[in-house]
Symmetry: C2
Subunit: 460 residues, 2 copies
């Protein structure tokens, strides 16, 4: 691949320029990778969060990482995989990163059209004797984390009971994965696959997905199966901070997705009175009381790093999931707060990497999201014209006002994704040699190359 020769000839700069490590216990023997995914984290979401959290002239932790590039999201037509679809979801985005192979929307590390199971970077790391972990603010069965450890034709087949379901409004959310029942020779639901694995640590939400009975039983729950497979289940922040012993950990801190840290108003369509748009009042953000003492993404990341730190090396996937979810439901303070959670988890990871110098930290997104930073009043005549979609005004601590619009569809259900290229930030060995424009599947190859898993990237 000729395109990479010039940039890849330059490998030494960052390491040579950074401070010497305070300690570097495993640097020669054990490559580590921390892959941090901001679900829906495109440049609008970063800009909106920066303006609110540190001001227009401020800097996020992300902004000071040594490398920044862009990643083309990849998704293909499920009936004709040669044709790109341009706008993907968490399943197709995470699958491209986890397996190096683009797939169709909704697929969890299975190939478009054929449903072939695609080997994931986490399975490869595990097979090579490395430690592995997943930290997320979503259900741990949700599409992004699931794509690293499970294989399923439809992301919604999280539980045995959910594998046959019809949605009257949104047919593509209807599911029939019955061919993938264990009884039919398949791997079973996503949650069953998760509890059957030897992942060292899972931390996130989704306890409600573990109360179902396992396929074919009317007495054994998924939780029972997890315990039988040597997982210790923890359910609170205080347990997380206590002595976790030596075995595998399954942290399930909330029934569904974990709560968003911040709350505020919700964007809505702008009403008109006598034809005049009624621009909404600006609001600020405040702590979300429902967040309570659920552990932060940074706290979970720190615990996971303590757990994974070893001579064998590790792969840790960290997801700030509700940047996306808050945007789907028009909650600007929600996505701002979850960007803050991501930025803190990045800081924890960079601190770890600063003393564990064989650690590569990658921060990227699975797909773009609709929320846009718009003028807070129309650039035209505000008494005549207004945004067509849902819209909110957020007052920043520096006393500016951001207009935030969501306009991908007019449904009361949720907002769509976009197909914009997404950011990649990196710190660690050889990141100054990364080309600044990549395909999403290149993330897999970079990861596999760094971890020494039989891949060589860039290809010759």
């Amino acid at each position: 691949m000729t395109r990479l020769i010039v940039t890849f000839a330059c490998l030494s700069c960052l390491v040579a320029c950074a401070e010497p490590p305070a300690e570097a216990p495993y640097s020669a023997s054990s490559p580590n990778l921390i892959l941090i995914i901001g679900d829906g984290m495109d440049d609008h979401q970063i800009t909106i969060a920066r303006n609110y959290l540190v001001g227009n002239a401020g800097r996020l932790t992300l902004d000071d990482m040594p490398f920044r590039g862009m990643v083309q999201v990849q998704t293909v037509d499920d009936t004709n995989p040669a044709v790109p679809r341009y706008v993907g979801d968490s399943a197709s985005g995470a699958t491209a990163m986890a397996t190096g192979q683009p797939t169709a929307e909704g697929r969890i590390s299975t190939a478009a059209k054929t449903n072939e199971h695609l080997p994931t970077i986490m399975e490869m790391a595990r097979a090579a004797g490395m430690r592995t972990g997943i930290v997320t603010t979503s259900r741990i069965t949700d599409a992004t984390p699931a794509s690293f450890v499970a294989h399923m034709s439809n992301r919604y087949c999280e539980m045995p009971r959910g594998m046959v379901r019809e949605d009257p409004i949104i047919p593509q959310d209807s599911t029939d994965c019955s061919a993938e029942f264990i009884a039919n020779g398949g791997s079973g639901s996503i949650v069953e696959q998760i509890v059957n694995l030897d992942i060292d640590i899972y931390l996130g939400g989704g306890a409600g997905r573990f109360t179902d009975f396992i396929e074919g039983s009317d007495s054994i729950t998924i939780r029972d199966a997890a315990v039988a497979n040597s997982f210790r289940i923890i359910e609170s922040g205080s347990e997380l901070m206590g002595d976790l012993g030596q075995g595998k950990i399954l942290g399930l801190f909330t029934d569904g997705h974990m709560p968003e840290r911040m709350r505020g108003g919700v964007a809505d369509f702008i009403e008109r009175v006598n034809g005049v748009p009624q621009w909404p009042e600006a609001f600020g953000c405040e702590p979300n009381p429902a967040f309570g003492d659920t552990p932060s993404l940074a706290a979970m990341t720190r615990v996971a790093l303590d757990r994974l730190d070893s001579h064998e090396g590790f792969l840790l996937v960290v997801e700030s999931a509700s940047i996306d979810k808050a945007m789907h439901y028009w909650r600007p303070c929600g996505h701002i707060g979850e960007m803050e959670q991501l930025d803190e988890a990045v800081e924890v990871s960079l601190d770890y990497a600063a003393v564990n110098r064989s650690t590569l930290v990658l921060v990227t997104a699975d797909h773009g999201q609709t929320a846009q930073l718009l003028p807070h009043t129309s650039g035209l005549a505000p008494q005549h014209f207004a945004p067509t979609g849902r819209f909110a005004r957020v007052r920043t601590p520096e006393d500016g006002i951001m207009g935030i619009g969501y306009a991908s569809n007019d449904s009361p259900h949720w907002e769509d994704h976009t197909g914009v290229q997404v950011p990649l930030y990196a710190a660690g060995p050889r990141v100054d040699g990364l080309p600044h424009y990549l395909l999403q599947s290149d993330i897999f190859h970079i990861a596999a190359t760094h971890l020494g898993l039989g891949d060589t990237w860039p290809a010759e």
Copy 2:
């Protein structure tokens, strides 16, 4: 500025790694800067253009430039400049880059609130004996190019007659710059300022702005004034390719903005029949017959580089203006074609820089733009829900379909800008030392430092 120390310690990589020059005539004595501005060129526009022009897995010339970072757009409240406004326009964006000082929307290198004239990088380069040029596909009096050479409280004061005007629909487009008439001690209209300068080469559109009489005269046109100030006026592509002699050049190839290279359908609101959205047919793009034999941006850039190439060094500003303008008027093929023009001008510039090694090439945008790459059919139920704003479907040569939405307002006039951080690409001396996150005003400081104009960036 501590934040820059690590990255700026690394200065040698790119130069050391690139191919040796075929010739490097002025590399020791004459720093050159080519600043290429994609008006409204944010990551959505780049992604949309890439998908169409080279395919989802293809690469633009931009994608292979050695450096990529992000730039925070800067714009402030005109009555209280301490408060950011977050969403700027071409005037505020270009002023921040041209002068290093953020200003309010609509201002041409004048300070918010005070109307103080802000010195521009092009004036500084000229004063230092360097050559200077502007190439654009807009009127050369339009906000982006004007901000490098003129000073005005309102971008719409392009001609003497335009300096007092009332717009019934869009009051902020109304103008009263009469205080800046020459008779009132001001600098006169933008076009008068332009023809009174010693810029070596202007190439673009806007001949219609030069037919007015100069202020206070009923017989001397702006064109007359340009000729009196030793400009040779050229008006066709064939003249541009001919012998241009030695004097100053004013190329005015069209009456208004130059035509867009490509055309196709126009996005519009999705109608409903019995409540069912009527999703529009997909269209492809085709050459715009109106483009005719007007010179391409690449051709103009090549001529300008020939003209400016010298022992003194130069500053050339190149703008692909109608990425923005096509988006304002919902023409996806228009903005795709103008992205192609930009990418070609980048190629011409990189070719020049490859043999003139003291040449820094910067490619950035003045602000983001509303057009988004959306699913071509709703991610929800397409028989129920559809995008709220104007929407088009573009069929790509690789047989995919892009949905492109515009939803910042519901007016028949135009689409707004956004406040997203915008790309910065760079090639040339020391670009591997650039931090990947910058403020828009940093572009000025990078330029002034490279050109040796008394600035030192980063500041200590």
